[in-house]
Symmetry: D2
Subunit: 293 residues, 4 copies
């Protein structure tokens, strides 16, 4: 039994699967005075059709409340981490994730993220907004967030990305969110940000990759349109998917109307993905994600 | 005011758009003693961004109740049809559409279609079921429908398709439904059946065309899976889409489980498309469909 | 064929059902140089099980483009309106509906409505926001809308409502939206606003009427929660429903978390209802609504 | 690492919450040669707003694979069960749950359950179907299941229920499913079956309790209709909810059409609830359920 003031921590881990992991982890946490309040796991051994795979990976997320400080708890887990070759993270629940937002002209994703953050639904803090257009400066100001207008053209792209890197470093940024930032990042920057940058693609991937997805969707005559939030990787629109959502449309909707309807879906799909990431609920499993929602 | 015994008819039409169509159609129906009980329309002029298109097409579906017999009503519409260059159909509402079902081994789509038909939800009658495997003969027998086992192998494909053509002719078939029929029809047969055959593809098209879509979906790590009911055309998985549906999945679902979950979605997506077709609610607009649901 | 500059109008009507209405309406519009670009209808005669009802009501909404000014078109419809005893409205499409927003402390509905209005998705203009608390003044200021803080307590309720009436009169208000306004309006004011005021109730009505619906939903252990946008009438939470939406929840969600999750649903359900109302797509049918979406 | 032939077991438990439960359980399972392949938990300590509750209850479900037979594993858990005062069950995964189905005239739920069972999606076996009408005997015969026609009228209700009890005893029935059985069970029988009988109510509870819910829904003008699968208790339509689902409807749907559309929702909602129950994923938490889906 714990009380509301006791700190809570989120431990995430992945490792080669073998018996005893759950027992070892729960033992280490118990020894540190912890009470497990939430626990989820997934492994290739949990999947009957993969039982013959000798190289299964085990994934786990545990929330634990304990009076121990972060460092103390980290020390308690360390021996287990070595024994089981854990790839692990440990965060205090509720500590906001330092997040850089990148936008262009469209406001819907920015509005959703900032509104949710302000109203306490999204455990992030936003030290800076970067945009290649000035349009959203006023909205940034309303939320009291420094707005950096960094225009991009083919000749200065490298310089613009360098500004971004410096801002990220200066603000100790842990996460970059491309909230309808309409520039393609360089391969190099994508690699640097791998697993730490989330993009919203305005289609139900892998349908309609690339440009003008709503026009493509209209031409194909689909009956549902959607949005996909995914981690950025070097391959355009191919990063691990975190969240997807769709809505119903019909023949009478023009591609402009599809785009308008889609914006609401993009905004909430992106916000959901950012929330899960900021709550340390998303683990990478190759080109797929494990989401302990 | 009409009473319950008065026949009802569904009139569908498309034509080059111009003012006066609705007035002319409603006038012809009124002159034939008809009362319009349902009416839907769609046209390029209904779409603000297409207003400048000089070649807009107008689509309409009207349900009308009138004591006139079918032939009488047809004669009443004929002059309008010529004046406005209508592409039109007229059916008595409730007359079942003669439908040939084609299946292989999997029962879920067949079960859904036959159950819905039997319980009065699907205005079709099924004079024959054709399968390249014997597995579903018992289910056909339960519903009292003749089952034709027509094995297909690479050498006899043309002969098998000829059997199908003869059955369709003998039974005056108006619609062919590929209810998880696991053979690719020849281009020639696809063209013959164009607009009169509905297929269910077990993915959310245009994602995951071709074989093993659930395995593809699993590998890509999507968070929603779906099914697509579409008209058959010469291009595989490219026919006009009638209906699509999705369900949420997560990382823990194996591709086998995705397939199992997907079957329920396939069955109801296909049944919905067949229902709309059999109620004369689907009009072709190039590679898209207009569905007056 | 019309061009993009031609005005468009939305005509809504209801009347006792009888043959010839569609023909008469389309004739009057054609004579006024109009081209029908959208048309929807509903009537008791469209419902097979109601065919024996001699007192069916017919509902229709037509969009028409014509170079005629509003008054000219109104004159063209007038004779038909008398002949068929129409209850009708005629508006130019796109003319914003003058809307008064009423709020208390919670920002989510206000944020959604103002953001959608600003970004061109909601055909309303907002001359005033009234609140019984000062909390949302800053958001009103960001959107440049006058904010009236009108505190309410049991003794001054009548006076507070009088301020509201005067504001509505001064601004020629056509619609009042209760965007999580946490005061119950007097019966008298409810009657005055009947059909012109939309409320958002934070549950899937008729489940969980009254106070603290999320706590009620949690206690009952429901697996879906929702929101209901409805017209205000004298009976609390009993007005005609315009739109409802739900989301999935589970046992682990506290009632506080249900409330948080529900806010997003409330905001978009209310915005959808306001949109339909402002596009003149909602007609009253006794205690039900006809929504020509 | 385990192989596909290794038995898997589902352990469910609830107990007063205190630190150390997870560690103790995982330790007992590890000592029995077990590898945990799936684990879920829920407790009042996982719920921030309930932290002050000194009487929190902890719920857990674990799947474990081990070569141990069922009795051996049971013995391994027994000491822990006593130490922590567990209320627990242990089942071999895949062992079908012996299920008695009760029906009346409507076939949709029976068809769905039997089809899913036959195609391997539902881990139940059905030794008997009981009906107060003869209509569904043919469908039972198709699936090879004994059909017992037990008419019910006010005078013989007690006798009819006695037949049911005897059938349940004779077939060692673990679960009773009321698959649109249109008789109200006696309070006494409800109590006997508490937690072991699932009913499908054809509305989104707590809306529209009692008779003719679709007619009620139509009269109220709701925009979504639904179905609720719940455990049977002495209070009609008040038992713990296992699953709910909704679909969108509109003003044009008659109450008969609502009923028709609703049948598909009822069938799949009930099947989902039965599946979760039969996989030992549903635990009772007072009037609520914990579903480890």
């Amino acid at each position: 039994m714990t009380d509301a003031q006791t700190p809570r921590y989120a431990l995430t881990l992945s490792c080669p699967d073998r018996p005893g992991i759950v027992h070892a982890v729960s033992g280490a946490l118990l020894a540190a005075g912890g009470n497990i309040t939430e626990s989820q796991q997934y492994g290739s051994t949990g999947s009957p059709d993969a039982l013959d795979a000798s190289d299964g990976t085990f994934f786990m997320r545990v929330e634990v409340s304990t009076p121990e400080p972060l460092d103390g708890l980290r020390s308690a887990v360390q021996p287990i981490a070595e024994e089981f070759a854990l790839d692990w993270t440990l965060h205090r629940v509720g500590t906001p994730v330092r997040t850089l937002l990148m936008v262009s002209k469209e406001a819907h994703c920015l509005n959703e993220l900032l509104f949710q953050q302000r109203s306490g639904q999204l455990p992030i803090e936003v030290p800076a907004i970067v945009s290649n257009h000035p349009d959203l400066a006023e909205m940034a100001a309303f939320y009291g967030i420094p707005f950096h207008h960094v225009p991009v053209d083919p000749r200065n792209k490298a310089a613009a990305e360098q500004v971004l890197r410096e801002l990220a470093a200066a603000h100790d940024v842990e996460l970059v969110v491309l909230a309808r930032y309409m520039q393609i990042l360089s391969d190099e920057l994508c690699r640097e940000l791998s697993g730490r940058a989330i993009n919203i693609h305005h289609s139900f991937l892998p349908s309609f990759k690339g440009a003008r997805p709503y026009a493509q969707a209209h031409a194909r005559g689909v009956k549902l349109i959607g949005a996909t939030a995914h981690y950025v990787t070097g391959e355009l629109d191919e990063g691990p998917i975190i969240e997807q959502e769709v809505i119903r449309v019909d023949h009478a909707h023009t591609s402009e109307r599809l785009a308008q309807m889609g914006r609401a879906v993009e905004a909430r799909t992106l916000a959901q993905a950012v929330r899960w990431h900021a709550e340390h609920r998303v683990l990478l499993d190759g080109k797929r994600t494990v989401v302990f929602a």
